[in-house]
């Protein structure tokens, strides 16, 4: 199977339709990325915008990467940021919070969610946003710390240390839960 990098390179060299195969590979994952952070309705609304932005910016993709997901998540993150900026009054949310509105995630938890789930959610809420982002990219999107670094535009070592701090902060809660 051809890598995402090969397909994106081909799409940039006279075969733009080759990009559609990349989209088919990752559309469920990118929709889930959006839905986890902004809810299902917003994910439905914003997915097409992610594809158009990615297609328009594909010349900037490093075709040495086999997996386009980190790049696509980075674009989805920017789309979410613009979405929240437009939806919230100016000054209500800092940019850092606007990429990871944990309050919204907690609101979406089923009211019958287990107490321990709520406890874990509260512990995640207390993490600094930059640590939480790395943690969620690894735990939810199944990225490696290096891939999470690509999404966030930070050095891999920074992503690893943020992940380490986040896990250390959650360890007492997770240990109580026996997970």
């Amino acid at each position: 199977m051809e890598t995402d990098g090969v397909l994106i390179e081909r799409s940039a060299r006279g075969r733009p339709d080759a990009f559609v195969e990349v989209v088919r590979r990752h559309e469920v994952a990118v929709h889930a990325f959006l839905a986890r952070r902004a809810g299902r309705q917003a994910a439905d609304d914003l997915l097409g915008e992610v594809w158009v932005r990615a297609f328009g910016g594909r010349a900037g993709f490093d075709t040495g990467h086999d997996d386009a997901r980190p790049w696509l998540y980075g674009i989805a993150r920017n789309v979410l940021r613009a979405h929240w900026r437009a939806a919230r009054p100016a000054g209500q949310a800092a940019i850092a919070e606007a990429v990871d509105p944990w309050d919204d995630v907690i609101d979406r938890l089923d009211s019958a969610a287990a107490a321990r789930t709520r406890e874990l959610a509260c512990a995640v809420q207390k993490l600094p946003p930059e640590e939480r982002e790395v943690l969620l990219l690894v735990a939810w999107e199944q990225l490696t710390p290096a891939q999470a670094a690509l999404v966030l535009g930070i050095p891999p070592g920074t992503a690893r240390s943020r992940l380490h701090r986040a896990r250390a902060a959650l360890r007492p809660v997770l240990a109580r839960e026996g997970t």
Partner: protein, 69 residues
């Protein structure tokens, strides 16, 4: 981290959502394909294709309708 993964579980998109998003992409793809299509002779001269075709038709001698005789 199993519990944390569970926290991020979402339902798959409803039928048609992925298709609709891909349609948006196809519009952009089609626009680029049209814009980068190989230029024909009319485009090379910068002359609108329709007008050029009309003029070429007018320059050609009219053939008689074989059925008219």
């Amino acid at each position: 981290m199993t519990e944390l993964e569970r926290l991020g579980r979402v339902d798959p998109p409803a039928p048609g959502v992925l298709d609709a998003a891909r349609e948006v992409l196809w519009s952009a793809v089609a626009a680029e394909m049209l814009a980068t299509a190989p230029p024909d002779a009319a485009h090379q001269t910068g002359e609108p294709a329709a007008r050029r075709n009309d003029e070429e038709t007018a320059r050609q001698p009219r053939r008689e309708d074989p059925g008219a005789k």
